[in-house]
Symmetry: C2
Subunit: 232 residues, 2 copies
DNA sequence: TAAAGCAAAAATTTATAAATAATTGGCGGC
DNA sequence: GCCGCCAATTATTTATAAATTTTTGCTTTA
């Protein structure tokens, strides 16, 4: 019984569980589902129009990734945020991406340097905010920003490490979303990215790592001070 | 009352999903469920005496941890092994635990050094094999061995990093299980652990890191050569 | 004769729904 | 304060339906 008309699912067969997993993750990272919120099955079922099975499968996946906390016999909650976690995540990211960038630069190829140049160029000409005065997150910018950072460490030679970096990026993204409106447009992140690129192209590994870590640390510092008000 | 158990929800009555998750994970790591095997729902349901729901929840958790591969609409499989992955995991573990050990040593306290000493002592007086001639894995040894390595990096100050190290240890454990019978008792791992302990107590960070990485690399080398026969 | 193409059949996975069991947390009585 | 009952929620089973993959077998073609 094959359908006569090919649906869009023929090319990309995704299960409902995978779809709802992606939607939940996105909603948690953007804080549309705010930290600490209880994720009741009834609420989620009508909110996302899915049954229990794919929903619980999605929640279980998110649990192992620490975006959701599962209390045995007491349901699921969106993972809380805290200044302590922000610091730990930032510190860890500085360590691990520092490592990965060093390795990446040792494996550097011409193609990689060119890809990095392109990634930076795209980042450079993408607007941070959709509106000029008030801040409205530009999803395109998030995409190219992430691509730039992913390219930096992409040649480190360890898929497990890259996966870990991605998870750290996700978990920190949520913190960034919480305070980003305030920080805009005080900071010149564009310059920081350019400086990192310069150091990489100049083959100055130590400087590149230092700048990258500084970049992450500065971001965390801004969020950290905002978090006082946000958690109050 | 009860001592703080590190980051796990052990004191709660576990759900079936959590129980079956642990059992499946153990069976995969010990290769009782061999790499590449298809995990059919019917088979697992009667093998472990559980219903669909907790089973699928467990499989979904294992998927995000890379112990199980889920092919959309085509079921679940035990993650394959490969020499490439063995190398990547080992390399990554050397990098990351090297980092973590350095940090740990910088945060060293007297209590930590004493805990490490005790952990090593327990490891030292636990038999590697249950039988003197042929090899039969002693689960107690695995436990104290893991505890020793966990203590080494335990003071690094990053729970995310410790979680990542634990996952790397799990994933490498399976490779160790595959070839451990052969390697026994050729190698003197006891001496390697003692050397690491000595270096830590002597506060020689660089030496300790070097020895730890050598320890992991040697293990991988033994497995690597065995893997030719095992994958044939 | 073999190989390739197809389509129906079988098997399996995925999802929904409903019923049951088990657990938590609150409320009131003592 | 403590104990037990009650309501709400979660966890699990079972049954079934829907969707998709895999197998099978037939027909056509070279």
């Amino acid at each position: 019984m094959r359908p006569d008309l090919p649906s869009q699912k023929v090319d990309q067969p995704a299960t409902l569980a995978t779809t709802i997993y992606a939607r939940l993750k996105a909603d948690i990272l953007t804080t549309r589902l705010e930290p600490g919120r209880k994720l009741q099955s009834r609420f989620l079922m009508e909110q996302y129009n899915v049954g229990q099975t794919p929903l619980r499968e999605a929640l279980n996946r998110l649990t192992t990734e620490e975006f959701v906390v599962g209390m045995e016999q007491r349901g699921f909650y969106v993972k809380e945020v805290s200044k302590e976690e922000l610091q730990e995540l930032t510190k860890t990211r500085c360590w691990v991406e520092g490592l990965a960038l060093r390795e990446s630069m040792q494996n550097a190829t011409q193609a990689w340097e060119e890809a990095l140049l392109v990634a930076h160029h795209r980042l450079d000409r993408t607007l941070r905010s959709l509106k000029p005065d008030t801040f409205e997150d530009n999803p395109d910018w998030e995409k190219v920003h992430r691509a730039f950072h992913a390219t930096l460490i992409g040649l480190c030679g360890s898929r497990p490490l890259l996966g870990f970096c991605e998870q750290l990026a996700d978990r920190l993204y949520r913190y960034r979303m919480m305070s980003i409106a305030k920080a805009y447009p005080a900071r010149k992140v564009g310059a920081e990215h350019s400086d990192i690129l310069q150091a990489v192209l100049a083959r100055d590994g130590e400087q590149a790592v230092r700048l990258l870590q500084q970049h992450y640390q500065r971001t965390a510092d801004v969020i950290y001070s905002d978090l006082d008000g946000l958690l109050a």
